[in-house]
């Protein structure tokens, strides 16, 4: 089993040691980072520290030296975003810090994405995300999107105040098989059910997995309205998305 001292980058080592307490997550991250090159660890360190310019420069350099784009994405960027997500969930950092890490992630991805798509490497899955009709709260939804992108999903962000028709149109246009809705108001939560109804009426409910979240939403509400899953925070959103993609693939056979 890898130990924390197998991680060569001091910053990453300290971050994991100080902030990642949950045994499974800690072990997982130590194993991941112990196997990652020190060069990719430096990219991760810069990302966790919110240094977008450093991430940008290191990514460009690594690509120029022939490091595969996929390796930079997985080992440099995605692994680090996991640390960020856990630190946020545990209140070690807050929204501004997460936003700056997401900006750093974006700086790296700007160089990676064109290469990946040119070489035909597919994202994990496409997800359509939006805040429901009448609701303008989007901070939580945006954090979910950052974490989803930070895990390799392609996300189509419909923004706030999204009607059932807009969800329908986006899912059809992008042929997405996964969709997420966010609501922060008790007054707008029913619009999640309205949207799900619209998918049933269109006869395409079985073609898309639907996840829901937001502070007033609960597993119980999610079950009542006929959603496929509920996630309490951005980390759960990612786990849920992965699970639903798997379920979808299994059902497709």
């Amino acid at each position: 089993m890898a130990s924390i001292n197998d991680i060569s980058n001091e910053f990453v080592r300290n971050e994991i040691d100080e902030y990642i307490k949950e045994p499974d997550e800690r072990e997982g991250l130590i194993a991941t980072y112990a196997a990652i090159s020190s060069r990719m660890q430096s990219i991760g360190a810069a990302l966790v520290d919110g240094q977008n310019k450093t991430v940008d420069a290191l990514t460009v350099e690594a690509l120029a030296d022939g490091v595969p784009a996929l390796e930079i994405m997985d080992d440099g960027l995605i692994a680090a975003m996991r640390i960020v997500g856990i630190k946020f969930r545990e209140n070690f950092i807050y929204v501004p810090e997460v936003l700056s890490c997401a900006r750093a992630m974006k700086a790296g991805m700007a160089h990676i994405e064109p290469i990946l798509s040119a070489s035909g490497i597919k994202p994990l899955a496409k997800v359509v995300m939006g805040t429901v009709k009448g609701d303008l709260h989007d901070i939580g939804k945006n954090l979910c999107i950052m974490m989803l992108r930070g895990t390799g999903f392609e996300v189509i962000d419909l923004g706030v105040d999204t009607s059932a028709d807009e969800f329908l149109a986006a899912v059809e246009e992008h042929e997405a098989r996964l969709m997420g809705m966010s609501a922060l108001l008790t007054t707008t939560m029913p619009n999640m059910a309205v949207t799900i109804e619209a998918f049933i009426d269109e006869g395409i409910r079985d073609d898309v997995k639907i996840m829901v979240g937001g502070a007033p939403v609960s597993q119980e509400f999610a079950d009542d309205m006929g959603a496929d899953g509920y996630g309490k925070d951005a980390m759960e959103c990612v786990a849920l998305a992965k699970r639903l993609v798997k379920e979808d693939a299994a059902q497709e056979g």
């Binding site: 501004p96 700056s100 303008l136």
Partner: protein, 346 residues
């Protein structure tokens, strides 16, 4: 010591000054508007946010129908942002109006301009006129509370939440400059409401633990809030929903009369931190209790606050629009019952 019977206004103002009261006042410093109340007095959203007579009529139900000790005519948090030039979405009867924060109007400190018609714009003037109407009709009996948004929330509206929060990390000095400049809007609108007859002002400034650290509150807002206490000569009620225990120490240092706090914070723990320095108002849960449960659960939350010594009791934030009148009426009822059960026999 027994206190002579008070009316709502006396009771609220005494509690805000930290003085003895005949019983704990009931108030909502944010909003009591509900669809049921809109129907009852024929003053529906969105008009009740834009026409002074309707605004006053809907607000008065907090006293006439619910039996609260305050009247609060500002149901949303957007009146001044509209006057500052933000893009608005007025919505329908069943939802609050909001600012389109995805289309910010300012990027740099120098963009910040308080328009010359800031206080005569229909959406700020509506509030001022509503306060005048309410002052005339109810001003002797019940506390009329105004509302002026703090600069942090104005920052969300005018700069957009994400750009504003990123700026605070990238260039804290610039953020402070922005906050200083936006404070003029807070003060101007506040002073105008005081002149129109407001007895006290709610000051929402959403630097909540759901978004930023307690240290952020201290660095960016504590001193500014101290300054607002000096510039707005009525009792101020700071409102920050969400988790705030980690910043209540700093909030207690501001000299504000009261802090309107959220159910995510345990009453006894909160009282332990602030002690007598600031009067807590709250913290009955909105989405789970007032909206989704019944009078019995509401009563329990009222008792939890009273048992902890919280000096003003009410909902934690703007109540959900579909909240039942029954649940809201239970708040003053429970407060009275608690006092009856706890009065020392003469």
């Amino acid at each position: 010591m027994t206190v002579k019977p008070m009316n709502g206004r006396e009771r609220v103002l005494a509690a805000l000054r930290g003085e003895a009261v005949d019983r704990t006042p009931v108030c909502n410093p944010t909003s009591v508007a509900t669809v049921e109340l809109m129907d009852l007095v024929d003053a529906p959203f969105p008009d009740a946010n834009r026409k002074p007579e309707l605004m006053a009529r809907l607000a008065a139900t907090g006293y006439t129908e619910l039996g609260f000790d305050t009247i609060m005519p500002v149901f949303s948090i957007i009146q001044e942002s509209s006057a500052l030039g933000c893009k608005m979405q007025w919505e329908q009867k069943d939802n609050w109006p909001t600012v389109r924060m995805r289309e910010p109007i300012w990027v740099e400190p120098d963009d910040i301009k308080i328009p010359t018609d800031f206080l005569t714009h229909p959406d700020t003037k509506c509030v001022l006129d509503a306060i005048r109407i309410l002052k005339k009709e109810y001003g002797n009996d019940v506390a009329i509370i105004g509302k002026t948004m703090g600069p942090w929330t104005l920052g969300y509206h005018c700069f957009g939440v994400e750009p504003f929060l990123l700026m605070s990390l990238d260039d804290p000095g610039k953020t402070k400059l922005c906050l200083d400049r936006m404070t003029k809007a807070t003060v101007d609108f506040g002073v105008a409401q005081i002149e129109a007859g407001a007895d006290a002002l709610t000051l929402p400034d959403h630097a909540t633990g759901d978004l930023v650290s307690g240290d952020y509150y201290k660095r960016f807002l504590r001193d500014l809030h101290i300054e607002l206490v000096e510039r707005l000569p009525v009792p101020l009620i700071l409102h920050i929903c969400g988790r705030t225990l980690d910043r209540m120490e700093y909030i207690a240092q501001t000299g504000m009369a009261a802090f309107h706090y959220d159910s995510k914070n345990e009453p006894a723990e909160a009282m332990d931190i602030v002690k007598e320095r600031i009067a807590l108002v709250g913290n009955i849960n909105n989405p789970e209790t007032l909206f989704a449960k019944g009078p019995e659960e509401v009563r329990q939350e009222v008792y939890r606050n009273l048992d902890a010594g919280v000096p003003l009791v009410g909902p934690e934030c703007a109540i959900p629009l579909q909240t039942s009148i029954e649940n809201l009426k239970e708040i003053p009822r429970a407060v009275k019952d608690w006092h009856r059960d706890h009065s020392t026999p003469n």
